[in-house]
């Protein structure tokens, strides 16, 4: 555990918004912006990583607080971290999408009794289908999920979409919206108690 105070920052879609946010808190992010290979910026207490790793570092206390998407938190709901604040940016929808002809998901459920779903969010997808009383076979993929229904691997997908553009380009359409996801501020449970002043002052300034 770093003895000062450290923030886990997600690279990727939330990166710029997060650095703007940290600028607003008076943290100097110029070094982080100009160097996209370095991962640890100890002098300003920033560690950068992919969004899905943020809850891991924060849960262990290797970072005191972190920023990541609600999609990551829903998928990793077993992580013991505080979810302190909805930061508002990085707005996306978690959706079920299927090929834009007929009703492949309904068809599969009617005739085969189950639907095959590809996703990078296996727990979240399984929970969604279980909660809506449908049997689903979840196929976990790591790369472009849109490919899976086009090749006949699955009947539909569960994925995050911001504009729906990639879905449309691959002849997929949204058939259900599971929920809306934005960037969230999370905190380690022990840091939340032992570094309460630092964390509260950040939360207060971000609440504005």
């Amino acid at each position: 555990m770093i003895e000062g105070f450290s923030v886990a920052v997600p690279r990727g879609a939330l990166f710029d918004g997060t650095l703007d946010l940290l600028d607003g808190l008076g943290i100097d992010t110029s070094e982080v912006r100009s160097n996209d290979r370095r991962l640890l910026f100890a002098d300003v207490g920033i560690v950068t990583m992919r969004p899905s790793d943020v809850p891991t570092y924060v849960e262990h206390g290797s970072a005191d607080i972190g920023i990541t998407g609600k999609d990551v938190l829903l998928e990793q709901s077993h992580r013991k971290v505080y979810e302190l604040l909805d930061l508002g940016y990085g707005q996306c929808e978690m959706v079920v999408a299927a090929p834009d002809r007929g009703d492949p998901i309904g068809e599969a459920l009617r005739r085969l009794g189950r639907v095959r779903i590809a996703t990078k969010y296996p727990r979240l997808a399984a929970e969604h289908f279980a909660a809506t009383g449908r049997q689903a076979e979840i196929v976990e993929v790591k790369g472009s999920v849109e490919l899976a229904p086009l090749t006949g691997l699955v009947d539909g997908i569960v994925d995050l979409t911001a504009t729906g553009k990639t879905l449309a380009e691959n002849n997929l359409r949204v058939v259900e919206t599971i929920g809306s996801c934005t960037a969230r501020l999370i905190a380690n449970p022990v840091a939340h108690k032992l570094k309460a002043q630092q964390i509260d002052s950040i939360v207060e300034r971000l609440r504005g």
């Binding site: 849960e59 262990h60 013991k80 971290v81 302190l84 969230r184």
Partner: protein, 329 residues
């Protein structure tokens, strides 16, 4: 060739064992000096007896059958077995009773960091001392035992597990809305909780109180603040806060008030706690070293009405903190 052992269990080899033993011995000596005699109970108990203590038997998940087909369960903590011992073996003994233990317990792993399937707990139970007097003794003893174990920067978080529920009830929030909100609190999902609070349509002051309460933690001052339910003696949470204020005073007399953090959002997952709850932290480790609280109804379920409180430490986690402390020099 590999011969696996279940995830969450481990072999302990001599070097680690010596260190674990040394920590355990120092804590044990501290408990003994304070009059807490060590007791041991069977690892396997009848499941229905554990269930008498708590519906979920404190999360006991490993079951087997004996020769007659009775269901046996591996204990998941020592508090329920000790409650059974008190009500049966000490049915007529004059309270207070003081017990300590160093024993393994078993729980299904919840995939969280630091979780084990099998873990060594060192702890104390103080039986027959109600209210802040009992709680202060237990908290001060845990702090002293960790001092002995070589920790320097540990703190005990103190809250009241029933506080938020009481506040909801006093604001007229329907019973049905309590459970999902308390679940959000227990999952530490303060964003979800805030949405749930907003959906209640309360006046601004009450809404703010419900949103801010889980974030209120710090020294003695948090027990008086406006957000903590108004000036002393008023407000819906005043009984719980009065108990915590009394506890603070006793901890001050014992010289450990600066080692505790009052945390109005603290909840513990075990179902038998009835009031004050504790959690132990060290800055070197990202998860709690242990916890406990007051359980005034548990022993009564075994047939003897006695107030009680206790606290258990995960010895392996204490070892982690102690090793980090050594590394700092």
């Amino acid at each position: 060739m590999t011969h696996p052992i279940p995830p969450g269990t481990r072999d302990v080899l001599p070097e680690e064992m010596r260190e674990l033993r040394a920590i355990g011995d120092r804590m044990r000596a501290c408990f003994e000096r304070a009059g807490y005699g060590e007791i041991h109970t069977p690892a396997l108990e009848y499941e229905e007896v554990l269930r008498r203590g708590e519906e979920r038997a404190a999360g006991a998940r490993y079951r087997t059958f004996d020769e007659q087909g009775a269901v046996l369960a591996l204990r998941s903590d020592m508090t329920i077995p000790i409650a059974r011992v008190v009500a049966t073996r000490y049915a007529d003994a004059e309270p207070p009773l003081r017990f300590s233990y160093f024993a393994r317990a078993w729980r299904a792993m919840e995939r969280g960091v630091g979780e084990s399937r099998e873990f060594l707990q060192g702890g104390v139970e103080l039986i027959g001392v109600p209210g802040a007097d009992g709680e202060a003794e237990v908290v001060a003893l845990a702090i002293a035992a960790l001092d002995e174990a070589g920790l320097r920067r540990h703190r005990v978080g103190i809250g009241d597990g029933a506080l938020y529920g009481k506040l909801l009830a006093s604001l007229g929030v329907s019973e049905g809305a309590h459970i999902p909100m308390l679940e959000s609190l227990s999952r530490r999902d303060l964003v979800g909780l805030e949405h749930q609070v907003e959906a209640l349509g309360l006046a601004e002051r009450e809404r703010d109180l419900l949103v801010r309460l889980p974030q209120i933690r710090g020294g003695r001052e948090v027990l008086d603040g406006e957000a903590a339910g108004g000036p002393a003696g008023r407000g819906p949470t005043s009984a719980a806060l009065e108990g915590l204020r009394a506890l603070h005073e006793l901890l001050e007399q014992r010289g450990v008030a600066d080692r505790v953090i009052f945390d109005l959002g603290l909840v513990r997952e075990l179902g038998y706690y009835t009031g004050a709850v504790f959690e132990v932290y060290d800055p070197a480790v990202g998860f709690a070293l242990g916890g406990g609280g007051r359980y005034d109804e548990l022993i009564g379920r075994f047939g003897r009405e006695l107030p009680a409180s206790g606290l258990a430490l995960d010895v392996q986690r204490v070892h982690l903190a102690q090793a980090a402390e050594d590394a700092l020099g």
